[in-house]
């Protein structure tokens, strides 16, 4: 995907040792070297001593190369994979939205959420809170459609991603 500066978006997956301060080593590297982070998501893996961090960044190829090399140079980093360089991968993001839902729009909101396979997670007389999962594009599409009805609050998780298994 290209952004407005014609720079490629990259989703990078980083396995790191689950120790205090590791996340700030990663984020400090980005701010210190002037790389940008568009989203960042981190949690532990099956092995509680190892965390998986997924970050979305953008830049020309030489910048992305520097990002992966510099990440690799951090002592606590186990593995760095530029997932978007893989032939095929799954990418998901979750959003929770509080949408204005008054008498005249309640049905419409439910229809939209249904189309996007979302789920209502909280109900009040004047709003619904809904959760929707999908690619960044899909999340953006839901937001675009619900915006005219009235989004009161929005929380996005940031992207997580995984390469697809080799078919043969």
């Amino acid at each position: 995907m290209m952004n407005k500066d014609n720079q490629m978006k990259h989703t990078i997956s980083v396995l790191l040792q689950n120790k205090p301060g590791v996340l700030s080593r990663v984020t400090g590297l980005f701010s210190g070297r002037g790389f940008n982070i568009e989203s960042l998501c981190v949690a532990s893996t099956l092995d509680p001593t190892v965390s998986c961090l997924t970050l979305v960044t953008s830049g020309e190829n030489n910048i992305i190369e520097q990002i992966t090399k510099q990440l690799h140079k951090l002592i606590d980093v186990i593995k760095v994979v530029d997932i978007s360089e893989e032939t095929d991968y799954v990418e998901r993001e979750m959003v929770i939205l509080r949408v204005k839902a008054e008498a005249n729009t309640r049905a419409e909101v439910l229809r939209v959420i249904d189309i996007f396979r979302g789920k209502v997670v909280d109900v009040s007389p004047k709003s619904y809170a809904v959760e929707i999962t999908g690619s960044t594009n899909k999340i953006q599409a839901v937001i675009d459609i619900l915006k005219p009805i009235g989004i009161q609050e929005i929380v996005r998780s940031g992207v997580i991603a995984m390469a697809r298994a080799k078919k043969n």
Binding site: Q17, P20, G21, S24, R25, G28, L29, G32, N62, E65, Q66, K69, Q70, H72, K73, I75, D76, V77, I78
Partner: protein, 565 residues
């Protein structure tokens, strides 16, 4: 058997072969200092923590070992930051121990508390806060391992007071195995083949050698390669001494204040062999115009250095010594390789470089009785037989030292290359002297930068380090003044130093010897007297006030656009 954390720290240092450490005590490290009284380790008490780190830096460089500094929490720790950042930029192996408030007070804004691990995260190779006393010993061992292997660098260990006081077991040393850190030493054979083929094809090769040659002790291998194939060599500031400076193949330093012939050679070469150098902006100038006709081979142990600033053709992630050995062996094994023919092939290229050298040699204009700084450095070289350890401050003094003291051996030139720290040279000289008590150690300084760590005169005196300080005194912050002269219409904004102390009297006040030279004829006698004096000597050379460093490539210009004398 249980030991205290403090005992474990000292035992670890002894186990690592540490003989000298540099530091300054305080409340948070008082237990470690107490333990030092029962150890054979020499501790050098500096007068400012920054000096401890610079001294440890130079000590490590001279010995080829890991330098060690020990300071207290809070201000003790923050004062080390400049020294650590300098060592990081110059890839100098070092372990810095900082005290910390007790673990239960961390985050509490306690007295002399600072998050030094957070502060130094971007300027250390790695750092640790030891929270669990049982982690202390493995952490120290790992820290030394990280500091000295791969691309060397400083590692900081923050030691809460209760961890230092705790009773712990002292496990036997085991080989360090790290899941996440395994630097590549051996070059890829395929890349060696490609590099050697490229060398054989080249008519106009240049070797561009950096600090990696010194760090990996690869001078001999580099010299063998250059001489075998008759290839001219230029060095970065950090690489000086990596190849004999007086050899006919040496072109001296390249870059902003490099020689005319080195910069011309790089601009016209068809093959650039970068060995342990990182294409720093002071070397490349305008990046598009750097070595525009050359295929580039880049040997570096740090993969992130490769293709960072300049796209290279033949990357080689390896230790310089291993890579150069492999290249030399490749040529030795080549049946169809005619060494003499290959060397002769580069004859016209060497002749071209000689032409450039004759046209614009490194030089300066003598001016009657007035002392030229370059003359002082030349005389220092002459009267020490080129065999002294030279440290520098930063600015004009640093560049004149680099240009005119032709280093023939590695580990003889200590300078803050990457960070450019004024105040580095004098404490570094003390560190170097502690590392090599029998060598002559000279800090080539400016009147501005010497004042940044001048308090270390007391340290030098206390430990009987007979270092010599050669102040090139022009009453200016000379390098900035030179820029103001050239690019700011001679508006000398805040670069004129007034109320400078009488350095001769100052030296005396510390029990050192002060000498002054104000005209050319006094230079040699002053240096001779200094070298014959078994004490700290501060030589005050009153030099031509507005002498500049030339050649000079204005910032952002191509390296061929040199301002000459």
């Amino acid at each position: 058997m249980k030991v205290t954390g403090a005992q474990a720290i000292i035992k670890c240092l002894e186990e690592q072969g540490v003989e000298v450490i540099f530091g300054f005590p305080g409340g948070a490290v008082i237990d470690i200092y107490d333990e030092l009284t029962r150890s054979k380790i020499t501790h050098v008490l500096v007068r400012h923590e920054q000096a401890a780190v610079h001294a440890a830096d130079a000590y490590g460089r001279v010995r080829g070992e890991v330098g060690v500094a020990l300071v207290t929490s809070g201000p003790g720790a923050t004062n080390t930051v400049t020294g650590i950042a300098s060592a990081y930029m110059d890839s100098i192996p070092m372990v810095v121990f900082t005290g910390q408030v007790p673990t239960k007070l961390i985050g509490n804004d306690a007295f002399q508390e600072v998050d030094i691990v957070g502060i130094t995260r971007p300027c250390t190779k790695h750092n640790y806060l030891v929270k669990n006393p049982e982690d202390l010993v493995p952490t120290i061992r790992e820290a030394f391992h990280i500091a000295r292997t791969g691309r060397p660098g400083p590692v900081l260990i923050d030691l809460p007071k209760d961890v230092v006081a705790a009773k712990i077991s002292f496990p036997k040393p085991e080989p360090i195995k790290m899941q996440t850190y395994r630097p590549t030493y051996e070059p890829h054979p395929g890349q060696i083949e490609k590099a050697c083929r490229a060398i054989m094809k080249s008519d106009r090769p240049v070797i561009y050698a950096g600090g990696g040659v010194i760090a990996s002790n690869a001078s001999e291998e580099l010299t063998e390669l250059a001489r075998k194939l008759n290839m001219p060599v230029t060095m970065t500031l950090m690489g000086l001494g990596g190849f004999p400076g007086t050899d006919r193949l040496s072109m001296g330093m390249l870059g902003m204040h490099g020689t005319y012939y080195a910069n011309m050679a790089v601009a016209n070469c068809d093959l650039l062999i970068a060995v342990g150098a990182r294409f720093d902006d002071r070397v490349t100038g305008k990046i598009d115009a750097f070595a525009p006709h050359a295929k580039i081979i880049h040997i570096d142990i740090d993969p992130a250095s490769i293709s960072k600033n300049v796209e290279v053709d033949i990357p080689m992630v390896a230790d310089c010594k291993h890579a150069l050995t492999a290249i030399n062996r490749w040529f030795d094994r080549q049946a169809d390789f005619d060494r003499e023919a290959e060397a002769a092939k580069h004859g016209p290229w060497c002749e071209q470089i000689e032409d450039w050298r004759r046209k614009h040699p490194l030089g300066y204009a003598a001016d009657g009785d007035i002392i030229k700084p370059q003359y002082v450095v030349q005389k220092l070289h002459e009267l020490t037989g080129g065999d002294a350890i030279i440290t520098t401050e930063v600015g004009q003094n640093q560049m004149w030292a680099a240009q005119f003291y032709h280093f023939n051996k590695p580990r003889a030139f200590m300078t803050s290359g990457g960070l450019g720290v004024m105040g580095y040279g004098f404490p570094a000289a003390i560190g170097a002297q502690m590392a090599a008590p029998d060598r002559t150690v000279i800090d080539i300084a400016g009147d501005g930068s010497i004042q940044m760590n001048i308090q270390e005169l007391a340290t030098a005196r206390q430990y009987r380090c007979p270092v010599k300080i050669a102040i090139l005194n022009n009453g200016y912050l000379g390098m900035v003044r030179q820029w103001q002269e050239l690019f700011y219409d001679k508006r000398y904004s805040h670069t004129t130093l007034e109320a400078t102390p009488d350095f001769v009297a100052l030296a005396r006040a510390y029990g050192a010897v002060g000498l002054r030279a104000t005209k050319v004829s006094e230079v040699e006698p002053v240096i001779k007297e200094a070298l014959a004096t078994d004490n700290v000597v501060m030589m005050d050379f009153v030099i031509a006030r507005e002498e500049g460093v030339y050649p000079m490539v204005p910032a952002g210009k191509a390296t061929t656009e040199m301002l000459l004398v």
